[in-house]
């Protein structure tokens, strides 16, 4: 049967494919001192891919291809936009970082673009196979990229840990999916939903769901599957860490929720308590572990574990209480988008600060605000935004999260209280970084001003992130389209 292919709908993916081939080709012909062109091409290609995305968004039609396995709707567009913008910021962050350390630039951008392609595919996936391929394409290149600083033992450790646990999680995920296929004989979400509607008592279904949850849990580094995250985050090149904690996490997150939401709504009794537990544990253990960190990147690693818990809260609460999942999905998505922006900003600030202070310890950042006030203010903005302090974007994410758990049900109220207490705990360690930057007296020498001025691309990354953080915080309506996108999924999917 011949398939109709809408090339405009696939244009973002095609542009990314074209870019990554171009990067690889350029890498072959360019001299070493000109290799930075690969970065420029990658940045330009990512920006270019946003153009057809915008056209599709204005068009607003839902396009379904390959028997409904690949869908371009508002939901997919929002996610693709998020992945592209986040990747764009990561490229900007990488530019100087990778160039100055003399790593293999061409391959770096090639792999990162491949990962980006995976996330774009994942956003449109509406069956298990496409979803799996997309998700694995996201993580595959990252196993390599995590070990990019190959002279550093920590980076090797990062890569190795990530690889072994990642492969394990993939196996578990695939095993769960195959069980699901065996039970239902279908791979498409809507068909699975229909087939599993009356299957709640089937033990094999529970096993399938649990295997998949464990697999996804590793991908999003939710507790208790988070042990790889801090080591990998610390060892990997910082832009890759940013990418791991935003794109790769978001991809895993959306994949998990979309499978539960679209394919297994009838089995909510099985997965809802598991998600509830994962949310509560991720928040609490992530936060408590973050309290003890002395390395700033490790702190962000645990913070991202805790933030994953917060993100799960709306969905888990609504599912446990049997309430409207649509609202909850919207809240989770808004949280995801805002988290992506502020977390990228925080990592960009960490890269700039690490160049300035020549250290990754929180203590080493003491007094940074006095030497470089602008960087100090930006650090405060991003970290307080992560803590959810108004008027920075993070407050709206937390607000939406709390709003969606206001369901009169003991389990959800318990989760709301856990989240509220955790919001306070989280503040403490975010404030520790700000305290070091602004309140503490300098302990070490700072690098010379001229030698470490942040590169132009890094400044641009910081600028984009801070502008979005402030704008969304002061006028959250501009993030409201995200919620509409979630509703499309509920009605149209």
């Amino acid at each position: 049967m011949p398939y109709e292919i809408d090339y405009l709908a696939l244009a973002p993916e095609l542009i990314v494919v074209g870019t990554l081939i171009l990067v690889l080709a350029l890498d072959l012909v360019l001299q070493r001192e000109n290799k930075y062109w690969t970065a420029t091409v990658a940045v330009a290609g990512t920006a270019l891919a946003l153009v057809p995305l915008g056209m599709l968004a204005i068009n607003g039609e839902t396009i379904s291809m390959f028997d409904g396995s690949y869908v371009i709707d508002e939901f997919a567009l929002v996610l693709k936009g998020l992945f592209l913008v986040a990747a764009y910021i990561v490229f900007l962050m990488s530019h100087h970082y990778i160039e100055s350390e003399r790593y293999y630039q061409g391959e770096y951008y090639f792999l990162l673009l491949a990962s980006l392609l995976g996330s774009l595919v994942m956003a449109s996936a509406r069956d298990l196979i496409v979803l799996f391929i997309g998700l694995e394409l996201v993580t595959g290149p990252l196993y390599l990229l995590a070990g990019w600083r190959k002279g550093d033992v920590k980076s090797n450790e990062a890569s190795m840990k990530y690889f072994i646990l990642g492969v394990l999680s993939t196996a578990l995920l695939l095993y769960g999916m195959s069980l699901l296929f065996g039970l239902t004989g279908a791979v498409e979400f809507t068909e699975i939903a229909a087939a599993t509607a009356n299957m709640a008592d089937e033990p094999a279904l529970a096993v399938a769901i649990l295997f998949m949850l464990v697999g996804f849990g590793f991908k999003v580094s939710a507790v208790p599957f988070h042990f790889w995250a801090p080591d990998t985050y610390e060892g990997a090149p910082t832009p890759i860490t940013a990418y791991l904690s935003v794109n790769s996490k978001a991809a895993g997150f959306v994949a998990m929720l979309i499978v539960m939401y679209q394919a297994l709504p009838g089995a909510a009794d099985i997965w809802a308590p598991a998600l509830w537990l994962m949310a509560a544990l991720s928040m609490t253990i992530g936060n408590l572990s973050a309290l003890r960190q002395t390395n700033i990147v490790r702190l962000l690693a645990y913070s991202s574990v805790a933030q994953a818990g917060f993100m799960l809260v709306p969905f888990a609460a609504a599912a446990v209480a049997g309430a409207n999942l649509e609202e909850a999905f919207g809240a989770t998505l808004i949280y995801l988008v805002i988290y992506a922006i502020m977390n990228l900003g925080a990592f960009a600030a960490v890269i700039a600060g690490a160049r300035k202070t020549q250290t990754g310890t929180i203590e080493g950042w003491s007094g940074l605000g006095r030497v470089d006030p602008i960087l100090g203010v930006l650090t405060a903005v991003f970290f307080f935004s992560l803590a959810g302090i108004p008027p920075l974007a993070g407050w709206f994410a937390k607000f939406e999260m709390f709003r969606s758990v206001m369901i009169a049900d003991p389990a959800t109220i318990a989760l709301a209280v856990i989240a509220a207490v955790n919001a306070v705990i989280a503040f403490y360690y975010y404030a520790r970084v700000v305290k070091a930057v602004w309140l503490d007296d300098p302990v070490g020498e700072f690098a010379d001003e001229a030698a470490v001025a942040p590169a132009g691309s890094l400044k641009l990354a910081l600028g984009v992130a801070v502008a979005l953080t402030l704008a969304i915080g002061i006028y959250p309506s501009i993030a409201a389209f995200v919620r509409d996108a979630a509703q499309v999924l509920a009605t149209g999917g």
Binding site: M406, A420, F427
Partner: protein, 541 residues
């Protein structure tokens, strides 16, 4: 002045933050330009608030009608609006806030605490001003929450960067910790803890306020709903009130949630303590009057005795704690716990006299304690110590400073004829005769204990005066030349002194604004239980 009707409050709230942005562009070495810019924008905000007073219709109108109202869509998806407005209750507090801000900028003109950096300090002050002014005019729960929280950041930095560097032993840590670091994070965590639950309370109210699509965060609409009994019998209501109570009570602060206050006030730089005491604490008690009482009147009734008991404990505890202090600034800080106890006792009576007492008590406490912190700051600036044992004979060394200190201490202990008297006296009067149905036993016992509290207040204030002001100067100051009050200090303090006297002799300036609003508030939400004596007490003053 048509445009001012719509823009007046917005200007009052946002002029300071515009100033903050401008300050960001001025070079940090150009100190004069920084100070002049900051002063002009605080003065402009003050003028705008005076414009609001001038244009305000004191004829009253019933509670829940606001003037200078603006209501524009803000976050459409959750039906939250940029809704601001003033009534007789918020007006005095708004003016207090803009006014004290101007004085604080003037005072800081030549009082920069280590590590100086006027630029950063002034920017923080400007942001703080926007947060405080905004809280008093916000008529939307989300907007209120945002402004309520905005004040935390600048205050955190003020305490943390410019605060007291003396090391202190912190329980749980083996190494001593600088006071400023401990106090700043404690302040933030306490308030954040309260406001996280407050937000949960707001959200619960939102969901109860109507069906899907008709839900609202609007305080005006919610007040109507609350007065018409829409939230009566709501099973979650006690929890919601408790959640909001936590948020507001931490801020006030009420015993036993007050422990952040002595640390924060003592550690903060002078201007920080002044703003904390004069305005920040009022955000909490204002929240009770504006949000808790009108929206959940039934719960307010059942919680009133508890609030009253905690308030009285606060009065007694605060006073006794004062008597145990050796540090002058810490003594003043603890006195706030006692004074805010009177404010909360007034609110807890749920009567017009009590709430009037609370508002005038807030204003008076803002002026008096603000001035006391100015004085404590200036004195420790000169003596380099706040230990009362080492001070003494201050009035001989610095007659003007000592005189002002004596005056302010008298005002603080509630001397009739000065501003502090009305709040204490009237809240005790109100406690004698609380709203019908409230336990007379609890409130009258509270009144007696509160009266004992006033005696204790007089006790510790006089004790402080005696130790600091009177007697012979300590031998260690022999040969020291002390500058008496300088012109910046005088410029900042004299307006406060004048107002303390004016309000003391003529409290009508406040009551003219508040009485109508308060009376109709009690009328509206607590079903016309006004006590007959209101006019005689209030207008007769």
């Amino acid at each position: 002045m048509e445009w001012f009707e719509t823009w007046g409050l917005t200007l009052t709230v946002f002029l300071p933050v515009v100033g903050a942005v401008l300050l960001g562009f001025i070079n940090r070495d150009n100190e004069d330009a920084l100070k002049i810019t900051a002063l002009s924008f605080t003065v402009l905000a003050f003028i705008a608030s005076i414009g609001v007073v001038v244009g305000f219709d004191f004829g009253g109108g019933s509670y829940n009608t606001y003037q200078f109202e603006v209501n524009e869509t803000w976050i459409g998806a959750i039906n939250s609006n940029y809704h601001v407005g003033v009534d007789g209750i918020s007006l005095p507090l708004l003016v207090l806030s803009t006014f004290v801000m101007v004085l604080a900028v003037i005072y800081s003109w030549n009082h920069w605490e280590e590590p100086k950096n006027p630029k950063a300090f002034l920017i923080l002050m400007m942001i703080l001003a926007t947060g405080m002014n905004g809280t008093f005019v916000a008529l939307d729960l989300v907007l209120f929450f945002i402004f309520f929280e905005i004040v935390l950041l600048p205050m955190y930095f003020m305490i943390g960067i410019w605060g007291d560097r003396a090391p202190r032993k912190v329980p749980g840590f083996s190494k001593p910790y600088e006071t400023r670091l401990y106090a700043s994070i404690k302040f933030f965590l306490f308030t954040l803890f309260g406001s996280a639950f407050m937000l949960l309370g707001f959200l619960a109210i939102y969901f109860e306020s109507g069906s899907e699509g008709a839900r609202t965060f609007d305080i005006q609409q919610l007040t109507e709903l609350g007065a018409s009994g829409a939230f009566s019998g709501w099973e979650l209501a006690p929890w919601v009130f408790a959640a909001m109570f936590l948020g507001f009570a931490v801020k006030v602060p009420m015993w036993p949630l007050h422990t952040w206050l002595p640390d924060a006030h003592t550690a903060a730089p002078t201007v920080g303590s002044v703003l904390l005491a004069a305005i920040l604490l009022k955000l909490g008690s204002y929240g009770f009057i504006r949000i808790s009482l009108p929206i959940l009147p039934d719960e307010a009734r059942s919680w009133a005795p508890i609030i009253a008991i905690l308030a009285v404990i606060g009065i007694i505890y605060g006073s006794l704690a004062c008597l145990a202090q050796s540090d002058m600034k810490r003594l003043i800080a603890f006195s706030s716990v006692g004074h805010m106890g009177f404010v909360m006792l007034g609110i807890a009576t749920l009567t017009d006299i009590g709430i009037n007492a609370a508002v005038i008590g807030m204003v008076a406490h803002g002026l008096i304690t603000g001035l006391l912190f100015f004085l404590a700051g200036s004195m420790s600036h000169r003596y380099h110590t706040r230990e009362m044992a080492r001070l003494g004979g201050n009035i001989k060394l610095m007659p003007v400073m000592g005189g002002i200190l004596a005056f302010t201490a008298m005002a603080s202990l509630g001397l009739p004829g000065l501003a502090g008297f009305w709040g204490e006296f009237m809240s005790l009067v109100a406690a004698y005769n609380p709203l019908d149905g409230l336990s007379l036993g609890v409130f009258r016992t509270g009144m007696v204990l509160g009266a004992i509290g006033t005696v204790l207040t007089a006790g510790y204030m006089l004790w402080m005066l005696q130790r600091v002001n009177l007697g012979e100067p300590n031998a260690e100051w022999e040969g020291h030349e002390f500058h008496d009050v300088d012109r910046f200090e005088l410029t900042a303090w004299v307006p406060l002194i004048i107002l303390i006297v004016v309000i003391g002799f003529y409290p009508k300036v406040i009551f003219d604004s508040t009485t109508d609003a308060v009376t109709s508030l009690v009328d509206m939400v607590f079903a016309g239980d006004t006590t007959a004596s209101i006019t005689s007490v209030v207008k007769g003053g």
